[in-house]
Amino acid sequence: MICIIAAIVFGVLAIFSASFRPLAKEAFDCTFRLVTFRKCKTNLDDRIKGKIVGKLMKKSPLTAGLVFKYFNVLSVIFVILFFASLAYTGYSTYNYIQYGNCYGPEDTGGFCIFNALEGEHFSELQKVYDGEIIPPDVDDDPGIGPEDAPVTIIEFGCYSCPYTRDAQPVVNEILEQYEGKIRYVFRDFPIEQLHGSASVHSEAANCALEQGQDKFWEMHEKIFDEQEACGGGNVHPDDHIVDAAQRIGLNMLLFHQCMNSHKYMEEIEKDFDEGIKAGVSGTPTFFINGRTIIGPKPIKAFQKIIDEELEIAEV
């Protein structure tokens, strides 16, 4: 039975190293013989067993004895576990492609190995809130879509975060596709720990809002579009922000006065605190009628939840 695992392990190793090819060939031969109910000619299974038990004998003869006596049972268990994990990996991969998470339509928001290994598809806070979770509301933050729409999407985003930026095309697509059925609200969640001047971007957007909703969304778009030029939050962004403000036609006197007064810092901090209390630990985090999506995910992930919520609302 152990030949099956050996065939796969040596088979993979043989791709990278010629020295494993004879072993891989032997293991495949043994596996073929096993499935055709014949004895392994080269005794590869015995050799593997002997090698494992021999090594264990040096450390713990008792363990070696147990492994030796139950080697066939252990082999069967390992083969079953191997194929089970292979199947589960396949299932999770399918879910990841189809739904943007490893758990499928019933996403629990739990740990997903793809996110963890492929490295932070969201900007993560170092400390995670462990108090009582309070679902977020739209507050008085700028939004798009009817206020009484059956589905509300609240995004906690950081203007200096590349992942928040990457999520914007999907947001725009969603807004277009579900026009009139959803309300989208952007709330500030500047992660200063990662992006040094993130708050400056949020202040600029809020100062633009002062001059009208349209100006806010223009500034919102400009900051994300030109995030690199804005320093990605790590280089002081003042110069480019001023330039962007001029290009979207803001009253520069008012804009400068607003920026210098830092009068929206309180509002930004409020958004941040409410985000923390809602359990936000990184950006972007979306709440779709309270259901969470973390990071830039494929549009299918959003559509799935929105469609379900629309169905519940019988729209």
Partner: protein
């Protein structure tokens, strides 16, 4: 034992001075292949460093040096086997080639009979099986059973080809009686001496066998070396297995004239370095004393046998004296490979497992094979004690 100092002997084997993964090597796979002393290795290197040229054909100084060394080796091997003349020593690449040379070279015809024992190495069995495909009758008798042998012998028996010492369990065929009976019947006798030449004093004159085959790699010599010792008259009857350079002294486009022995049977450029190494190995063994070596091996085998005879299933007679230096065994609920692999991994004890090229015997007896420890001159009582300790551990924890 006069002059036998195992520690001194061990100093001649570089490989025994090394540790593998922090532990010394315990080499008990001598029936397969022995280790080589520095003297043999130096002799091989001498050829390549000092006179790496053609023998038997080149008249220059280096060529003459090769001829001298090869003659020396042949002389040493002749003395080692107590053969009559250098003509009776044919260098081969191993026992297998020597056996094939005789079995195929006698020009046996349909209706002739060849006899072997039921415990032959594939190297002896296969050539005989191939003969039977050509209509030659192949019979086999129970190893060691003279009555059975006599029963199988008939007037058509041209050759009796038997193993001297079994590589499987170390038991010894009563070859003197076999040879006597065969000769009385007018049959030639070929002995497979692969397991006897390295461990026992071989005197082909006393044995009176017609052919004796042995391997260099089992008797401290280089791999790729072997020897066929034969009576000159018997060797004269052989057709060469292969022909070519140095087997003839004259050719035309249509004719040839064979050289005299031994060259007639040694086609092509020879393994000069190997032959020199084999000569040196024979010198080393003779100097150490084959009787001393045999006694030493039996002492080690007795030590292992007495300690383990009730714990393992020994192949062959329990009496160690009847099994030369071979301790072949099985442990219930374990395969031979399990035993060998575990000993290798846990204690660097290296031994052979499986059918030892004696598949026919194991198949006839419904067995998968055995684990085989085979001792030699450089093995020590401490090593055997370690082996006993590890087998006891296996018995306690794994069965």
């Amino acid at each position: 034992m006069m002059g036998f100092n195992v520690e001194k002997i061990r100093n001649d084997f570089s490989v025994l001075q090394k540790n593998l993964k922090g532990k010394p090597i315990i080499y008990f796979d001598n029936a397969c292949q022995s280790l080589r002393p520095n003297q043999v290795i130096d002799k091989i290197l001498q050829y390549y460093k000092e006179f790496p040229s053609c023998g038997e054909r080149s008249l220059h100084k280096l060529g003459k040096q090769v001829d001298k060394e090869i003659d020396e080796s042949r002389k040493t091997i002749r003395k080692f086997f107590n053969a009559k003349s250098n003509k009776e020593i044919i260098f081969t690449k191993n026992t297998t080639e020597a056996l094939n040379l005789v079995i195929n070279g006698l020009g046996m015809k349909q209706g002739d009979t060849v006899i072997s024992s039921d415990k032959e190495h594939n190297s002896n069995l296969l050539p005989l099986q191939f003969l039977s495909k050509r209509g030659i009758n192949h019979k086999w008798f129970e190893f060691g059973n003279i009555d059975d042998f006599q029963e199988k012998l008939d007037k058509n028996t041209k050759l009796v080809s038997v193993v001297h010492v079994s590589n499987m369990d170390g038991t010894v065929n009563p070859v003197k009686e076999i040879i006597k009976i065969a000769h009385d019947n007018g049959s030639l006798v070929l002995l497979d001496g692969a397991q006897s030449a390295p461990h026992k004093e071989i005197n082909v004159k006393k044995l009176d066998c017609d052919f004796f085959a042995a391997s260099g790699h089992k008797m401290l010599g280089p791999s790729g070396t072997g020897v066929l010792v034969g009576k000159e008259k018997a060797l004269e009857q052989l057709n060469p297995l292969i022909v070519g350079g140095s087997t003839v002294d004259e050719t035309t486009y249509t004719t040839y004239n064979f050289e005299e022995l031994p060259m007639k049977l040694e086609a092509g450029l020879q393994n000069y370095a190997g032959i020199m190494g084999l000569g040196e190995a024979a010198r080393y063994l003779s100097k150490t004393g084959l009787k001393n070596i045999e006694k030493h091996e039996q002492k080690l085998n007795t030590l292992a046998t007495e300690a383990l005879k009730d714990k393992v299933e020994i192949l062959g007679p329990v009496d160690a004296e009847k099994r030369s230096g071979i301790f072949s065994f099985n442990i219930k609920k374990m395969t031979p490979h399990d035993i060998a692999m575990i000993l290798d991994q846990s204690a660097n004890i290296m031994m052979r497992s499986g059918a030892h090229c004696d598949h026919s015997w194991f198949n006839a007896h419904g067995m998968n094979g055995s684990a085989r420890a085979s001792f030699y001159l450089y093995n020590t009582e401490e090593e055997v004690n370690k082996f006993i300790e590890e087998i006891n551990k296996i018995k306690k924890h794994l069965t």
